[in-house]
């Protein structure tokens, strides 16, 4: 059969896979390839074809396979397949791959001509097709389907030309958090940041169990295959080196120990003292429900917060405050105090403002009272102050704040207060270092509808953060439920496995239809990465974490010297085998 699509009188390289078909329109941005008998192309393969243009250098069109079809040519009925399989009816199986163009070089947008040979792009040609050759600093994000590394341009991560990462996918299967951490690891360890790596920090809010509390332990499941994957990506297969962990204190416990079960050392409890609560006007973050801003009582919040700042004086070293002569040691004390002041006819005017009605005040008080249970463990005046209770990113590369034991309202409070403080600090420090802020369940903090103080902080980061050096790495199950301006401001969009209904939403318009369908069956560890320079999202597999993700995976303990939590309070005592002095 002479018409099998093999080479005909032309010298073609061994990477030849087929020819541009002429039965479907070939356009500069999309064309189809009929595959040779012994060739195959799978989704995401990178191919390249060349054509001559009169008076110009040959135009090279590169692209990514976005669909592959196979059918019987010569069969008219569905049942013909049985005849063909029985050897009764002659027919031919033909596979056709649809290619979406990624790059045309030189930039003459002419369609590849039917009949032109198409070859698989490897090495230099693959890098060119995916624009890796134009990236000055590139961060590996995983291995492509062909087993070679895929990069993203650091300039779209560090704020130079863009910033922020949005990661979406079904929880449990989409491995959003693992990917975010892998990305952070890549940014810090790939060498792309150069000397800036010293001043680059990450702040990670952990909301799902204690998965992220073992980042500094090697993973016992790390084997040679996995090491090979990391080596191909140019990354060390090592746990994070410089990490500090924070967790809320154990409720109803006066020792101030962190409330975690798996990790016993190298973790500090964090809380805010009543003195800080008053002085820094943290009261608005208590009212962080999305609907709250529409109500009247928000004016009361600001009146009260303002008054607290002016009236409260710190007393003692536990962070207790004295207001109008009363000593308040706990959050309950503070709420009781405010309750009395606001329900008293004489003092109400001073605390809530002159024209506020009792209905509004009652609404405020009702909500304030409901915050007692969530917040009483993290707003304290009764614990001995320690140096490492303050959540700060100063002394280490990665700061993990564990929120999973806190009620949702307290989680919002913590995220809001910490982010506001870090934003203020970066603003004061000027654009020097980078702070990558990873927030899971972003839809909880920056929902599409309504406003809240936390959403304001996040929007500020999304819109202004990249000039301040704050990069938001947000993960959410459904990008459609996150504030549009935050998603729109993300340069890097990443999608793991999606719910079929979610995949159809316009937020995922950057995925071509075939990838949308595919995202509904993506396996854990497979992500679709979209970046501004490459017109088609690229599918990557990122390797299993080299760090432990649960207690049972913990291998070698981290070496000493990893920042403040490594300090051993008994380190200066004499060793136990010292001779007794008698």
């Amino acid at each position: 059969m002479s018409e099998q699509s093999g080479p005909r009188g032309q010298t073609v390289s061994t990477s030849f896979v087929g020819r541009v078909v002429g039965t479907e329109d070939s356009t500069p941005l999309q064309f189809s390839v009929a595959l040779g008998v012994d060739s195959y192309l799978q989704l995401d393969d990178v191919v390249v074809t060349e054509r001559a243009v009169p008076g110009l250098a040959p135009v090279k069109t590169s692209g990514v396979v976005t669909e592959v079809r196979a059918r019987h040519e010569g069969a008219n009925f569905g049942s013909d397949v049985f005849l063909i399989a029985d050897g009764v009816l002659p027919a031919q199986v033909q596979e056709i791959a649809e290619v979406t163009t990624t790059r045309v070089e030189p930039e003459f947008y002419v369609p590849p001509r039917p009949g032109e040979p198409v070859r698989r792009a490897t090495g230099e040609e693959r890098a060119q097709a995916l624009y890796f050759d134009r990236m000055d600093q590139k961060v590996p994000v995983g291995l492509g389907r062909d087993g070679d590394p895929v990069y993203i341009n650091l300039e779209f991560l560090d704020g130079t030309r863009g910033g922020h990462v949005s990661i979406s996918g079904i929880s449990g299967v989409a491995t959003k958090t693992s990917f975010a951490l892998f990305l952070l690891n890549s940014i810090f360890r790939s060498g792309a940041l150069g000397r800036r790596a010293i001043n680059a920090k990450a702040l990670v809010f952990s909301v799902k169990g204690e998965d992220l509390l073992f980042l500094d332990y090697a993973n016992t499941r790390l084997n040679d295959d996995l090491r090979g994957d990391y080596a191909r990506l140019g990354l060390p297969a090592e746990p994070f080196a410089s990490v500090v962990f924070f967790a809320p204190p154990i409720p109803d416990d006066l020792s101030g120990r962190p409330y975690v079960t798996g990790r016993t050392s190298g973790i500090s409890a964090f809380w805010w003292t009543l003195a800080e609560f008053c002085a820094n006007e943290l009261l608005p973050y208590v009212f962080a429900d999305a609907e709250d801003e529409r109500n009247q009582y928000t004016t009361v919040i600001h009146q009260v917060a303002n008054r607290l700042r002016r009236e409260a004086t710190a007393t003692g070293d536990g962070g207790a405050v004295a207001i109008e002569g009363q000593l308040l040691r706990t959050y309950d004390d503070l709420v009781d105090f405010l309750f009395k002041r606001l329900t008293d006819e004489d003092t109400r005017r001073d605390w809530a403002g002159p024209v506020t009605g009792t209905g509004t005040i009652n609404a405020f008080l009702r909500r304030l009272r409901s915050s007692l249970k969530p917040l009483r463990t993290i707003v304290r005046g009764d614990l001995a102050d320690t140096a490492d209770r303050r959540v700060s990113t100063d002394n280490q590369q990665i700061t993990v704040v564990d929120l999973h034991n806190l009620p949702e309202r307290a989680q919002r409070f913590v995220v809001g207060v910490v982010l506001a403080a870090e934003t203020a600090r970066k603003e004061a420090a000027g654009p020097g270092g980078l702070l990558f802020t990873m927030i899971d369940e972003l839809n909880k903090y920056a929902p599409r509808e309504g406003t809240s103080p936390i959403k304001e902080v996040l929007l500020d980061i999304a819109e202004r953060g990249r000039s301040l050096g704050i990069i938001l790495v947000g993960a959410q199950q459904t990008a459609s439920e996150v504030e549009r301006r935050i998603v729109a401001n993300s340069s890097i969009k990443v999608v793991g496995r999606l719910d079929p209904a979610e995949a159809g939403r316009p937020e995922y318009g950057f995925l071509p239809p075939s990838q949308r369908a595919r995202a509904t069956l993506a396996r854990p560890g497979t992500m679709f990465v979209s970046q501004p320079e490459i017109p088609v999202p690229i599918v990557v597999d990122f390797p299993f974490p080299a760090w432990a993700t649960r207690l049972s995976e913990c291998g070698a303990p981290p070496s000493a010297g990893n920042g403040s939590v490594r300090r051993d309070p008994f380190g200066r005592l004499p060793p136990v085998n010292d001779d007794p002095p008698f």
Binding site: M1, S2, E3, G74, N76, F77, D80, L83, I84, A85, D86, G87, V88, L89, P90, A91
Partner: protein, 325 residues
């Protein structure tokens, strides 16, 4: 050479079935396999296995344009000619590779009675001259059509020979194949292990009492072998293919094999055809000529027609070639 493309649709004036022109049967010898008075429907022989390889040969033809070829001396005198594309091919049905196209050969010809005609090169291919002889008994158009049919037949034989040669690579014993030619065997008897396969019956060869037997055949049954003697001799038999029984001659095909065989070999071919062909019969809803138009042949015709090229493109190529002469 000056020539003009006739604007009429190429299909006009050639509606003649050319299969059996000039055929005359002198005699039917009925008692080859069974004596004439013992004729009965024969069921498939249990011990006969289909061959490892069955080859189906067929050709397709299409008249691309009717052409007026001018005489060099006088432009006002022109004779009618045909430009046609024709192709022959062989499908091989074997266990290893299923049904696949083994060989195909596409040709284009200018069929003319003019002595001055030369090849016509076009952008879509060259139409090579084939001269047709005028026959006073038939119209010139039909003579041209006959010439085309003869060329197609010759091409079919060529491809069949090439296919047989190509089979050597199949790793089979040389004799375990069967060649089925679509149409009468005339002129192709000298190929080994070959059957002629005739789908339509315009002539009644058998006397009435034997024709009744043909009509009474059940699906899968055949008549005994008989010998046709005439302008050319061959063995023949009728076979009813699997079909829903309706019209008396539904699903009946006539098979021919070379008269150079001895009686026993011809009878062997008949048993073999019965064991082989029923499996390839098509069904009504898939083929308008079912069941006689066998699946491999239908598939082959589709593939060959595809290879003839686009009719409009060729017609345009011819007009262009005519205009620039």
């Amino acid at each position: 050479m000056r020539f003009f493309i006739d604007p009429w649709d190429p299909g006009y004036g050639v509606s003649l079935d050319v299969d059996e022109i000039g055929e005359s049967i002198a005699r039917v010898v009925a008692d080859i396999e069974l004596p004439e008075d013992q004729w009965r429907p024969l069921d498939p022989g249990r011990k006969v296995e289909p061959p490892a390889v069955t080859l189906f040969v067929d050709g397709v033809r299409r008249i691309d344009a009717r052409v007026w070829v001018g005489e060099p001396a006088d432009d006002s005198i022109a004779s009618l000619a045909l430009c046609a594309s024709y192709a022959a091919g062989v499908v091989c049905c074997c266990a290893a590779k299923g049904a696949h196209l083994l060989v195909s050969d596409v040709r284009r010809g200018l069929f003319t009675t003019s002595a001055h005609a030369v090849d016509i090169p076009t952008r879509a291919g060259t139409y090579c001259v084939s001269r047709a002889d005028l026959d006073s008994r038939i119209a010139s158009m039909q003579a041209l059509s006959l010439a085309l049919q003869a060329r197609l037949g010759a091409t079919e034989i060529d491809t069949a020979k090439v296919a047989r040669a190509a089979l050597n690579g199949h790793g089979l014993s040389e004799t375990d194949d069967l060649l089925v030619i679509d149409g009468p065997l005339r002129g192709r008897q000298d190929l080994p292990r070959v059957l002629g396969y005739i789908k339509s019956h315009r002539r009644e060869y058998l006397p009435l009492h034997l024709r009744r037997l043909v009509v009474s055949l059940l699906p899968g049954q055949r008549t005994p072998v008989f010998l046709l003697e005439g302008s050319w001799d061959r063995y023949a038999w009728y076979l009813r293919l699997p079909c829903t029984v309706g019209a008396p001659w539904a699903g009946i095909v006539r098979l021919e094999c070379s008269a150079t065989l001895v009686h026993a070999d011809a009878i062997g071919m008949a048993w073999l055809s019965q064991a082989t062909l029923c499996r390839y019969a098509s069904v009504e809803y898939k083929d308008t000529r079912a069941p006689q138009n066998l699946y491999p042949i239908a598939g082959l015709e589709r593939q060959l027609r595809r290879r003839l090229g686009d009719a409009m493109l060729l017609y345009r190529g011819l007009r262009r070639a005519g205009a620039y002469r």
